[in-house]
Amino acid sequence: MKVSLNTIKQFIDFELPPVDELVKRINEQLGGVEEVVDLSEKYKDAKIVRVVECEKHPDADRLSVCKVDVGSGELVQVVCGAPNVHADMWAIWLPPESTVPSSYGTNEPFVLGARELRGVMSNGMLAAGDELGINGDHDGIIEITEKDLLLGIKLKAGASFAETFGLDDTTIDIENKMFTHRPDLFGQLGVAREIAGIFGHQFTSPEWYRKVEYGIENAENSDMLPLEVFNDASEKAPRFMAVAIKDVTVGPSPLWLQCELVRLGGKSINNIVDITNYVMLLTSQPTHAYDYDKLRGHKLGVRMAHDGEKATLLNDKTYELTSDDIVIVDAEGPVGLAGIMGGSNSEVSPETKNIVLEVANFDMYAVRKSSMRHGLFTDALTRFNKGQSPLQNPIVMSQLQNFITGIAGGEQASEVFDKKAFDDEKDEDVLGAKWLPGTISADFINQRLGLSLNDSEIAQLLENVEFHAHEMGEMNEICFTAPFWRTDIEQPEDIVEEVGRLYGFDKLPLELPQRSVTPAPQNTSRILKRQIRDNLKHAGANEVLTYSFVHENVLKKAGQDPTHAYRLGNALSPDLQYYRLSLLPSLLDKVHMNIKAGHDMFALYEIGKTHFKGEMDAVEPNVPNEDTHVALVVTANEKAAQPGAAFYLAKKYLHGLIGFATIELKKMTEFDMASDVWGAQLSAPYEPKRSAVLVHDGKIWGVVGEFRTGVRQGFKLPAYSAGFEVHLDLLAQNFAQYTPLSRFPSNSQDISLRSNNKVSYRDIYGVTIAALEEAGADLQTKVEPISIYQSSTDSSTKTTTFRITFTHYDKTLTDDDIKPLMDHVAGVALSRLSAERT
């Protein structure tokens, strides 16, 4: 929202502080200032001058040599190429050394000089509208006449152009987002009111804003233009006002108005359009002018569009409408998309003689939806979608009429139609004023701000911005009515904000809440995650974070089926197509680049969430279930790889996080994937013959292993690569299991058992443990694997060696004590597994 300080000054009756101080206070009490532009710098050298003599250039037909009164006493010679230059005219002069304003602040500022044009010295130039950056006119220089001046301004040769036309200005751009709830602050008047309020001054709206004067209220005589106005969409268009004006003269706006628009960030088009824009910029109520003679059937009205109906708008684009769009129509069809943009078929042109002015109110939600649907964003929409008050319409209509007839001539040629959906101006349903008028206690306000203001201080703060507020005289209560433009005031808390802001949030007392000594509850899942991090850090792994969304290719490379994944419909980046089904593919995607970056061996892990389409949350069935997983990939290039399969290292990492005791680690080849759709997706990247699944209640809760050849190739993984992924719910806090110490030394012996290669390690280990339990009464035994050996000439057998450590609590064990135990183990292994002791 661009604010002109010169415009603000027209509305207030006190001196503004220096710009720095003003900006600071606006930041603190109104909204974030994004930009401050000093216009006076841009126009500082431009001067009002009088052309005294004007003769043809001796050597150039199109040039004139002018003698110009620049107020210095001596006439200055300027050569001018404009066809409209003549003696006895007021013009704008850019002296030598000055920068052409339209090039000011650009990469290539154009600095004028004194130079000869076809042999005649020219000092600077007489300026056209485009060179001043005021309008697009380059057909001639600006000629200032009486009508270009605001009442009371006199021209003087040598006077500053900027001062004469209010361009000695500073404009301040305040973030729009701040005003999302404040329809009134999209007009200069509203901002002026707030500025008065934050400096503690009483603001009074200008007289025209307080009094409505339409000219002829109702008129029926032969001078009138026939016009029929209707509102067939009163639910979405609470108010629709229109009036015909005849015999206007369409032309350029007077210079003062063009300059006003420049300050407010607008651009001059023609007087009619400029006035409708100017009124909007002042009041924040959008308005529109139609060419009366282009309105078919002399009708103008508002209704809901028909599905498929087409409208061609001022941007020359044609839109296909739906029955949710509000549309402005004449007798035959659309002439505008309500609240957003007028139609090209009813546009005011230089030939226009008669016009119809429209001031209306539309439902903020409906126009916002239309704008989103058609991708059409305009200044009018920015204002309508904040929820303008329909009560402002008659005021704006009245002022719009005054400006039009005052500037473009013409006279009112119809009654002022007012098609509204409400009779009573206090109708709450229509006005959205849910809480008006009301009372509020000073206590309520003070309690929420930590202040101790009294009722009259509060009333004054509100009165300053034109609330009606007065003390009730008891209970410290204030009775107030919000002004109609404050459609945002809906509840007492909104008054709290108002009071706090106008008083100054910097004055709030800083005081900590008092708390009870009850400990804040622990978040057990965070504790678990911290333990996982500590654990994996100590095991040399690096925690990474990767996106929750993946490209379809990542899923496919991992062998997963995208149809199970939630799909994003509006992502800007093509890399973000699906919510991931599991974490591992994201990790695999990060291996190759790290190998390439020179890392020989590393383990990446991530703790994150996964989603599987169709699985809903157990407690909140409207939202998808979210599982938290930890996944890890460990990988090494050839020179760094450890001996043996990478599977065993991945398994060791997993083992560090989880005891396998309660969870079944099952060969992936033996699990029926068809029985577990989710488990099948989780396991998809893994090579079934070299992977294991963690099974719990018949479902897969995790998987550990090496990857399929295709997956390895797809992600360019080194041969030595393996990983795991496991559901966090499966990992409980791991408590150490303590065994009491014996006073007596332990005794260790190794046993090697040669078995068929097909006998699993788990069976050999299990049999060993079982045999020891059968045999040793008071003994503590520990079985550790030492090696698994396979001869290079015989792969049908393998030899598993354990070191068994025996501890007795009452004596020192001798080899004689241990021998029968070892023999028993060997015997059991032989009988149950045909495993020979070697």
Partner: protein
Amino acid sequence: MNIDELTSALTERVAQSDNPAEVLRAPEFRELYAQIPQQEPEERASFGQRVNAMKQAVEAAVEARKAELSSVDVCPLDITAPMDVNASAPKFLSAEQGTIHPLMAEMQTLSEIFGRMGFVTEDSREIDDQYHMFETLNFPKGHPARDDYDTFMTVETDADGDPLIAPAHTSTMQNRILKKYRENLERGEAIAAVVPDRVFRNEDLDARHEHTFYQFEGIYVAKGVHAGMLIATLQKFLEEYYGKKLDVRVNPFYFPFTEPSFEFSLSCPFCEGTDKDCKVCGGEGWIELLGCGMIHPNVLKAADIDPNIYTGFAWGGGIDRLVMMKYGIEDVRHFQSAKLDFLEQF
């Protein structure tokens, strides 16, 4: 080496390769192609043909090897064993190599400070419905304030027919947390929670913008809570976090779910306003850190808390930015790049 020998050498290489397509990019090919123009003119055509024939032979070998690889009899492992046959037990990487992600470490720090201040830590969601993201936070359907959140939406819809969303703020948890701890209020205790977690904005990436980042939400509700307490609480937290006294200030702001709403700034803890070229505050002496405000009565009502009895405050701030300021990290995209060169520094 003649072309025939080369052909058999390359096909042999293909037969051994796990990634046979790579052989097609072997330097030998380039060298052969380079030799074509050097041949005698009359030889050139036949030489070229032989090179092509060789390429076709290798390509055929690649396809054959690919097929072989996909059906190759992968050697099964004994998944129950602690180590491979004829191999020593696997060893973890060196502890010195291990790292915790700086964002996660910082979240832990935040969570611990707030824990000491009596705030429970809660988790957020990565996919949610519009009811929690907008409706319970006083953003009615179709409200223009929704436009300020560039929200990722799924093609799948919820029971209301609305797309599911990737939460654009941790405030999506406010309603759930207010309900979960509502009974604290009846016991005369406060609801006090922080939610440090992942959020999403559908934005283009650059050094300062990530579509995936981390926020910490704070919620505090009790009797007699006022806006000054919000500012004091955040000041206390930041002083603890930075280990020094800090000035703070609030400017008015607009959020639908707080009233009044503020933008909260702290005096620059790095240069303390003394460095005109400070990289963190840009010489301003102040850092805009987060948005906050008094919880809107409609938000309390949506959780069945009477706003006439209880009041509260809430805030939401970015964690990525805190970490970037702390270490002088120049590009927010590093966080989720999984680059070891980056991670190993923490």
